[in-house]
Symmetry: C2
Subunit: 296 residues, 2 copies
Amino acid sequence: MDIQSYLSQKKSIVDKTLYKLVPSAKMFPTSVHEAMRYSLFAGGKRVRPILAIAAAEALGSKTSGLLPLAGSLELIHTYSLIHDDLPAMDDDDLRRGRPTCHKVYGEAVAILAGDGLLNMAFEVLSDPGGTEAVSAKRLLAIIKEISTASGVFGMVGGQVVDMESEGREVDLPTLEYIHTHKTGALIRASVRVGAIYAKAGKRQLSALTRYGELAGLAFQIADDILDLTGTQEELGKDAGSDLKKDKKTFPSFYGLAESRRRAYEVAAKAIDSLQGFGRAADPLRELAEYIVNRVN
Amino acid sequence: MDIQSYLSQKKSIVDKTLYKLVPSAKMFPTSVHEAMRYSLFAGGKRVRPILAIAAAEALGSKTSGLLPLAGSLELIHTYSLIHDDLPAMDDDDLRRGRPTCHKVYGEAVAILAGDGLLNMAFEVLSDPGGTEAVSAKRLLAIIKEISTASGVFGMVGGQVVDMESEGREVDLPTLEYIHTHKTGALIRASVRVGAIYAKAGKRQLSALTRYGELAGLAFQIADDILDLTGTQEELGKDAGSDLKKDKKTFPSFYGLAESRRRAYEVAAKAIDSLQGFGRAADPLRELAEYIVNRVN
């Protein structure tokens, strides 16, 4: 299969869903709606929604009813980027090659745009509309999955420890905590959302969960490597920002070559966890490789 | 009935629920858990959870299964206070007689404590635990209700317009937009959550919705009056802060005496909307009066 055309086809479907969820019609109050759209349509790769879709496909499921749920993963991801970029947090000026949300709309509107996107995710999840493709019980399980991954036992916790670790000696367990929570939790949840939607059995869910955890880890190692080796143009943000902020990363523990080796090893393990699945899981397998080979 | 003893009894039940939802045991990362608890247990009156409970009682329903859902309304309310107080927003130093969350824990942790509380509300709502007191379908309706009231079409929208109106000429429709969204939306939702939980019929739900809208309006007029007439000791925050910030309020449009008259008139209308309900709705009736008579 051609992963590039798979990605671009799915990205376009996800983008269409997001345009429906956050329409461009003038809405009051305009500033916060514009700020939400500015960050949501900044050229994201839509990795999380695509992982959810690919996980459902791996189980042979149709995915039209999954699209709004997958879209809500991107709303949550975007909320976290806006808040993480704030001056009080990582204080980043550039994101995906453009000024960050607070640089354009001011801090107050940026905080509220993040809050708006987070709330909107749950508006969508509690009332995804259209067909009754997914039972109320399963929707609740999906909401639980996403809110836990997004909250204080997931991304929020990871961001707290990340910030509190800046400029300090960080040991490997702490680095692992940051990565599994800040990035890993939502990637794991994305795969599980697709699996729960597609009525995964217990063993299927556990295999896909393991895939999600390994994919999240591979994603983060690759991110750390890219921060060191990518150019500003490729990354759409300052290159080497981890070094500048004195942030510990995989390469700072293991060196660049060993980090690369581990990224490929983890991706291979992710693929191994799909042994019980047939050809329908090929997109997930290709995605694991894409995650470590990407240049941004 | 004695509303004071009703309020203190229900407040203690709500507080117990909140202690269970956000336990005091040391949780990692400690800073954000402490910040969440600091703001959640700062002596709030628990008006929103109590309104939900009283609405369910008005329909003759037991309320033990409602408690975690009612508690989540307070998690949302607390998140909104923490974010509204931030330097980039209303820049308030005092809240309920104590330094605001960001004054104690710093801006970054305060933003993340707000995010953590907001996410936690949906963790609780999607998995309230215990008995199967409420069907999955009804839980989804409640999540939709709360997320919409909290998001860009509710509180977030109200806060945006409130901030963008500071120091500008504000007309009455704008003031009304701010009030119905910033405060009114979650109070209305609180009453509706109790009603939906208690399986309100269509006409009952519509009467209780009207009650919630009027109670929210009465609450806000009373708040505006208190900001002018209360002392810092009574309010637990700077008195006269609306004037200092050049914020338009009900008294600045109508004067103090006429605002008081209107507050009582609106509370009376709220009580009128409960005509189809028996004695079980007495707490709601008393709450409408309490809302305009309170001193903080």
